[in-house]
Symmetry: D2
Subunit: 311 residues, 4 copies
């Protein structure tokens, strides 16, 4: 097990150095609400498998999960509907097209490549909305709260939700396209609505690090000791995080940091290092690949210092 | 460190069960020489980081490296030419197109996505052939021999080489296309010639498992104790193996087995499990993704039994 | 000038023979209202440049213009907004993708290839809706009535319009996609609404043949003698009809019939043979390219008999 | 029939004006021999269906046919092998990709879209080379000489041929790719060799205008009165010229000039105006679409003055 004092000290040093390493990164603006966030915020959390939560930086910072919610949604879908049903709707291969590409769908006229690109995630949302009915969002918020160990309970940030919903041309195009091709067999606007709500769930780095630690701990939340997902689900989610967690920079990140992770355009990155820990970082300025510049740097440094790859 | 007796016993049980799990797999025939191999062969090797070599099955089986040679070539190129020069010619992202796709190149009119797809590997070969001149193949065979700890020295199987070279329409198309676009700035036929030779290097599973163990050991061959590549090179090669080692089934393999690996159409798979061991398996029948059916099964079982993911 | 008696006799013979030449053609069903049309209907009209209207078959048959409305819309847009503004929004090149392809747009991230594919036509509708405001549909119906010489005035078939509007996933996807990329800078739902209305304008073959004759007569309606469009507009519209009037079978039709034409999925084809005549045919069963099987056959036969290519 | 004196006068005026209208056009340089041609040359020829040959400008200028040879090759193939065999190997639809695109082939994994793009033309050459054996080039030169009415006999320009052959990366890529996919079932290097020779046939504008006039005259050479091709072959070749004769500017040319034509990168354009005349123009500077800038301008002006569209 990790030495807590050394780990806290490492987090502090990493936070101090990386906070300013945002290069030419710029925070996302295509969803208006994201543009209002303070770009200088920086927070870093680690959660060990024996349940210690360590943080550094702007610890109280709250932000929307955006694509990091896909880790939670996939976990939830696998638990509620099973591997076979989930993967009858989406694949599990990395995608070398931009995350919101329609082309790939048109050429394969098939299912989306994986549940982390927008098309696949919208289908997941549609599937869950149809199977679970109107209570779906409450049930998922409850699941997310248990996965993150958040006792107050996670909630949707309504301003972000409305902002997403009203500036969603590309996602709307994806959904209508998939509905026309049959890939999305659920109601278009209902699928999109759940998708936007999930992206808008508000969290802090502590929440995310516990979520990562839960997967890294084979499905058992190390804080609450509750089993959230099965070992097989944790294998599946971690496997997909490792090949396609950082959009078009997933390979670069596998070389640079070498740990399973998922980023979001709000500037967060959540990592699940199997058998070791969960990690989360938040810094809004994004590089051209859509990933937090300082976040990638922080995870890479921690990976080397802590030999998170195993070497 | 692993218990050798238990590990040998596990290998024997795995070999016994997986040998016949080839499903509807069929060995590759597009290179005529590959079609002459006995499809019922099965071999499995593990090499621990303290230098133990354990094997099971048809231990003496020899086969061509095919795409597994790309692990060695990339390691060699990184050591000889450096990270910056290598990645000015190819990327490091997974590719959702078939491994021999030209389309992707035409649309991006840029460099190949990674050094493990044919286009990227042909460029690596061209680059090395130009930089190192006529001695390149001898130098690379020497490197491969040291990386695999093979004392007799590895060699090109001339029949396979001639067979590859004379049935290479698609690779030839790729090379001429890249030459026309400028992505391949080296002589076409010379680039292809080295590429074919590298694919035709003959090995056994012991050789491959040592190669994997060398990377898993942060670059130091655990048998000979020689440092073959730097820690950074091992990070880079392992990172790319983890996102795009099994063609269009890299994500599925990350879920199923969860270890960095590279397959070849001869039916082999080489794995580098950082901090744990190297693994190699050989069974010619391939699934529709071009990966050894029994090989994938064997690695997946070992991964679970040995908790190679860390959980 | 054409001999009217011989021409009428030729139309009668052609109608008699072609009516049943529908092969394995099937009428369009993706817009529910189109599926309710009697598939055995067949009508054929020719309008000479001296103003004779000759018809044969089910002369009273009425049907929606569908994509044939794009001939009228383009003519109208060129007259009202001018060549430069129109072609700042769309190109004028044939498209080798299906008419409702998004891929092409994504790869070029540019303007649609031409105003006859759905994407280009939706932009035309959006442009006209924005420039002309709420009166746009009335103004266009008036223009269409004058171009077809229809004294009662053309009108939108409301049932077809509602049917189009409620089953338009692909067109909606196209529009949202183009809005996200900036190709469509007009309001999405307003653009689609006008587009659906224009597709739903109800006509007979006489109307269409006069419309074709107007273009064939360098812009002057041969019945009413009114100048509807300029010579340059007739050149432009006829030029685009000749290269991309029959979807993915435009080349085949240029070989088989060799006259500028535009088809619609309702089963109609309108032709403008410059200096000779306008032609229109209606028969609902479509071949796999989306063109009226009997219609193509009838036009081809008339083209040969009347040497409409000039030889 | 055309008034010869007026026509000559029109050609002279057109040549005088258009010679300098090359805008920012630049002659092709990717085939080194093409770069050696004097860019200021300009020649224009018209051949009426009663056999008058009228020319203006640098009448003696000789240049290679390049893609204009595809008109002759297609005519020849249709006559020797028949419509069905030819169109079992290529389609007849316009292509919205660049003329030397491989992508289109990969996505359809099918036959090339038409015989005027490089891929389709290489297959035509391979087909003819296989069917007719080693005498194929002599037989085609004889056919070309009869189609152009050239009594001295047309011949391959050997310097251009060698230049094409040694700088043909993209065509070689296309051919190897099609061989790997099965679209090209003939020997790759033999197919390319004939293709390069055909592109290198040397002509003047008189030759080309007679070739165009032969098609415009329904297959009968208006000078020699010899029937070169059937009426159906002339329909087919003219039809394909009208939809895809000017690469990616075929639609624009159909609007601007409105006559069936085929261009070549040497700077020539050959036109067949059915029932009216053949036209040819030569001026090396090309626009960004690969078509002679002054040539397009000259044909457009003649089309308007002579009402070659029929209006």
């Amino acid at each position: 097990m990790e030495n807590k004092q050394e780990l806290q000290s490492l987090l502090d040093r990493t936070a101090a150095v990386c906070r300013s390493l945002t290069g030419s990164g710029r925070q996302a603006t295509y969803i208006p609400e994201l543009a209002t966030v303070d770009p200088s915020l920086f927070a870093l959390s680690a959660v060990t498998l024996d349940g210690a939560v360590l943080s550094s930086g702007d610890i109280g910072a709250r932000f929307s999960m955006q694509s990091m919610s896909k880790v939670m949604s996939l976990s939830f879908a696998l638990e509620r509907l099973g591997y076979d049903e989930v993967f009858s709707h989406v694949g599990m291969e990395p995608c070398s097209e931009p995350f919101n590409s329609i082309m790939k769908l048109e050429m394969t006229s098939d299912t989306p490549l994986n549940p982390f690109i927008n098309s696949g995630s919208i289908i997941m949302a549609g599937l869950l909305a149809e199977r679970l009915g109107s209570g779906v969002i409450d049930e998922m918020l409850d699941f997310a709260s248990r996965m993150t160990g958040n006792k107050s309970g996670l909630a949707v940030n309504e301003r972000v939700y409305r902002s997403e919903s009203s500036t969603a041309d590309r996602n709307r195009a994806l959904a209508y396209f998939m509905h026309s091709s049959g890939a999305l067999s659920f109601e278009v606007e209902k699928s999109l609505d759940l998708y936007f709500r999930l992206c808008s769930i508000e969290v802090g780095t502590d929440d995310l690090a516990v979520m990562g630690a839960t997967l890294a701990n084979a499905g058992k939340n190390p804080l609450t000791k509750e089993t959230i997902v099965s070992v097989d689900t944790s294998y599946t989610v971690i496997g997909i995080m490792s090949v396609c967690g950082l959009y078009d920079e997933s390979g670069w990140f596998a070389v640079k940091a070498g740990v399973p992770a998922k980023s979001g355009v709000s500037g967060g990155i959540v990592c699940a290092v199997p058998g070791r820990m969960g990690l989360a970082v938040f810094s809004p300025p994004l590089g051209k690949g859509g990933n937090s510049v300082a976040g990638v740097e922080a995870v890479s440094r921690l990976s080397k210092e802590l030999k998170l790859r195993g070497i």
